[in-house]
């Protein structure tokens, strides 16, 4: 254990990132500062699209990618530095995170050279936004049970079926879709990972209103939608392997940026407790202390993983379980601190306060991207090597 000294190279990287972020977010992009966080995905959306493009133009998207694809080949420590500086500067919720964080690593790992040439530049420049076509009405926790079908016909994939809970489908130009392409193959070997353009007659997007009254996710209907035959990542039938690898990317270095967001949310809860006197209540003091303890647990765990990587079986699931549960509980604590005021919205008809938005949004943290129950199964089965649940 040691106090890592930042190398001269990393210090220079930090200074460069900080200068650029400060200049932009206190200058032309001040209006998107701190906007579009969890639960507020619609805030200043168009402005955040422009922000994504500006980041791309200045070389601050895809920083971990190889230089040949427009990246900076930034080391893990530099990625962390960037997320720290981004949070410090009040960088808005990214609209390109699905492309940058999920699609690009997947294409880099499994894609053809042609796919890299076709899709990475649009992600890098912020001109092509992506959404994730995973869950279906009958395939949530049981993701392998997807029923959306695709068949090759005349050099094209023809896709029929339905996805649900598809974040940003109403804004995205592209979607990656897990679908059944090999109906006769056994489970886990019957799926393919397709890249599908959203703007076409065969696709209908229907927003789903959340209990927050806002609408961030959608139902997506595929009715004879098309995709070129070459838009399959990995071989046909290998979709499950690709899809699972992608979920690993989902919990990579970016969780550090999230951690910084959590720290500032916690600070706001403390400030509210001080302001309304709850901080003097001995019971609430204990609860606030416990919340800090668990936040530090999440933080130290995340930092450890930076050294060790998250490849140890079950570790990614432990991380997800920890931070999701912390965030959910912190949301409840914030409401408890506010007491009777907690139920009062910002303004009619249903504009929520920031704390209310977070409280409601954090109800979903222990559900999306694998429920707590699924994470515990992964920890038990992959981490501890316990027998699998019996499957029919």
């Amino acid at each position: 254990m040691s106090d890592a000294i930042e190398s001269a190279e990393d210090q220079a990287f930090r200074a460069e990132a900080r200068d650029w972020l400060t200049e932009q977010l206190e200058g032309p992009f001040a209006y998107v500062r701190f906007r579009g966080g969890p639960g507020e995905e619609d805030e200043e959306f168009e402005g955040r699209v422009e922000w994504e493009k500006a980041m791309g133009a200045a070389g601050w998207t895809g920083i971990s990618w190889p230089k040949e694809y427009g990246g900076r080949a930034a080391s893990l420590s530099q990625q962390v530095i960037f997320y720290q500086e981004y949070a410090r500067a009040g960088g808005p919720g990214r609209v390109g995170h699905i492309g940058e964080g999920l699609v690009a690593p997947t294409i880099l790992a499994f894609g053809t050279e042609a796919q890299k040439q076709r899709f990475l530049p649009g992600i890098k420049s912020g001109t092509e936004l992506w959404c994730q076509g995973y869950s279906e009405p009958a395939a949530g926790s049981d993701l392998a049970n997807v029923q959306t079908r695709a068949r090759l016909e005349g050099g094209k994939w023809i896709i029929d079926g339905q996805k649900v809970w598809t974040s940003l489908a109403h804004k995205a130009g592209w979607c990656f879709v897990i679908c059944k392409t090999e109906p006769d193959a056994p489970r886990y070997r019957n799926l393919s990972f397709l890249l599908v353009e959203m703007n076409q007659p065969g696709i209908t997007v229907k927003p789903i209103v959340q209990l927050s009254g806002t609408s961030e996710f959608n139902e997506v209907f595929f009715d004879g939608a098309h995709a070129p035959a070459e838009n399959v990542v990995g071989a046909p039938g290998q979709g499950w392997k690709v899809a699972m690898a992608l979920l690993g990317f989902e919990r990579g270095a970016s969780t550090l940026g999230q951690q910084i967001g959590f720290e500032s949310e916690f600070k706001e809860i403390l400030a509210a407790a001080r302001e309304n006197g709850t901080a003097k209540d001995p019971v609430m003091r204990q609860k606030l202390a416990q919340c800090w303890i668990e936040l530090q647990l999440v933080r130290l765990n995340a930092l450890t993983n930076l050294n060790e990587g998250t490849t140890r079986p079950g570790l990614a699931a432990i991380n997800k379980l920890c931070w999701a549960t912390w965030h959910r509980d912190a949301g409840e604590l914030a409401m408890e601190v506010l007491g009777a005021e907690a139920e009062i919205c910002a303004e009619p008809p249903y504009a929520l306060t920031r704390m209310q938005s977070r409280f409601l949004f954090s109800r979903s943290d222990t559900i999306y991207g694998g429920t707590n129950e699924i994470q515990r199964n992964i920890i038990a089965e992959q981490g501890l090597g316990l027998p699998r649940e019996p499957r029919p």
């Binding site: 949530g140 408890e336 007491g339 907690a342 919205c345 249903y350 109800r363 222990t366 129950e373």
Partner: protein, 350 residues
């Protein structure tokens, strides 16, 4: 102690339940959710047919002359059906308070409350926002150790939308000179605490009913929703989530009923029994909201799915008429007071 309710009490509860099952459906609630009063007046008027609006009021005021033990079961049913409006604050807290504090005003107003024509709103320091102030005909407001009856026409309301879209809280600005002082001194302290105890009891009962409803919906959902080729309710990881709620709810129910009993019989420990009830019910309800949402997955997170009606109701209930922290502090104050008679000698005592 005999915790059994009488045949008559159960019959009345069943009548309320049957009526609400037919009338106060999620579709009916949603249909009125954007109306100015969120449906409070419509359901108040409908429930008057059953006599519910006069349940704890004296017969001379057109009520049924029933007590808190009768009313607690009805409050539970109203939570189970998510009846819009602060009906119990008006008829079961403000009503008896007015009867005890100001007989002439009671003679004027309570017959109208009993028939469902009038609503009385309550402004208590624990609730910075007054529920149903917008439809109230009379407001009972406390200030500087005194209680005032204030006509609605003299107050200024600022509506404050609630996270629970069926609720209608408002900030009330009022002047003492526009109202009639009906209580002060020690009598104010005593009756205002009694009012708080009644209100907290009914909030607790409301949470019991709402939690039962969320649990019922979740049992139904997890029996039918299939993943990995079988109902998700067959997975231990899922069924245990709901079993814990059943445990909390089962434990909370006698606590709430005992608090009602303590109110009816004026037991010396009345207030801490009520506080216990509010804490136990809020614990069951907040766990219930969290767990039932979890077993529904993303479905429970949607506006369209009805679970949100009850989740938002218990989140609001938990913060009103004293938070759990406030009630725990009240219990601590009482049991730690010098000379408090606790211990084995009290096991079978009331």
């Amino acid at each position: 102690m005999d915790f059994r309710f009488t045949e008559d009490q159960l019959i009345f509860r069943d009548a309320v339940r049957d009526f609400l099952d037919g009338e106060c459906t999620p579709a009916a609630i949603r249909g009125l959710i954007d109306s100015p009063d969120g449906g409070a007046v419509k359901f108040r008027t409908a429930l008057a047919e059953l006599g519910l609006t006069g349940l704890p009021l004296a017969e001379e005021h057109g009520g049924l002359g029933m007590n808190e033990l009768d009313a607690v079961l009805a409050a539970e049913e109203c939570g189970r059906a998510a009846v819009p409006g602060a009906l119990f604050d008006s008829m079961a807290v403000a009503g008896p308070l007015l009867a005890e504090a100001a007989p002439e005003l009671a003679a004027e107003w309570l017959p109208k409350v009993a028939t469902g024509e009038a609503t009385i709103a309550l402004g208590h320091a624990l609730n910075p926002f007054v529920l149903d102030a917008g439809i109230a005909d009379l407001l009972l407001m406390a200030r500087d150790g005194a209680l005032y009856a204030v006509p609605r026409s003299t107050v200024t309301l600022t509506e404050a939308p609630s996270v629970d879209p069926s609720r209608r809280p408002a900030k009330v600005q009022w002047s003492s000179s526009a109202g009639q002082k009906i209580l002060d001194g020690e009598r104010f302290e005593a009756l205002w605490t009694l009012a708080l105890d009644r209100a907290a009891l009914y909030a607790a009962a409301d949470m019991l009913g709402a939690t039962q409803r969320m649990l019922d919906m979740s049992v139904e959902y997890t029996k039918n929703r299939e993943q990995f080729g079988r109902p998700i309710g067959s997975f231990q990881a899922v069924k245990h989530l709901l079993a814990d709620v059943q445990v909390k709810l089962t434990f909370a129910r006698p606590v709430v009923y005992y608090a009602a009993y303590a109110l009816v019989n004026g037991l010396p420990q009345r207030s801490i029994r009520v506080s216990h009830a509010k804490v136990a019910a809020a614990d069951a309800a907040t766990l219930g909201a969290r767990r039932t949402l979890q077993v529904h997955g993303a479905m429970g997170y949607t506006w369209e799915y009805d679970l949100q009606i009850w989740m938002k109701r218990v989140w609001a209930d938990a913060g009103c008429w004293g938070t759990s922290a406030w009630h725990r502090a009240r219990i601590a104050g009482a049991i730690l007071a010098p000379g408090t008679d606790l211990g084995p000698g009290r096991t079978w005592a009331a």
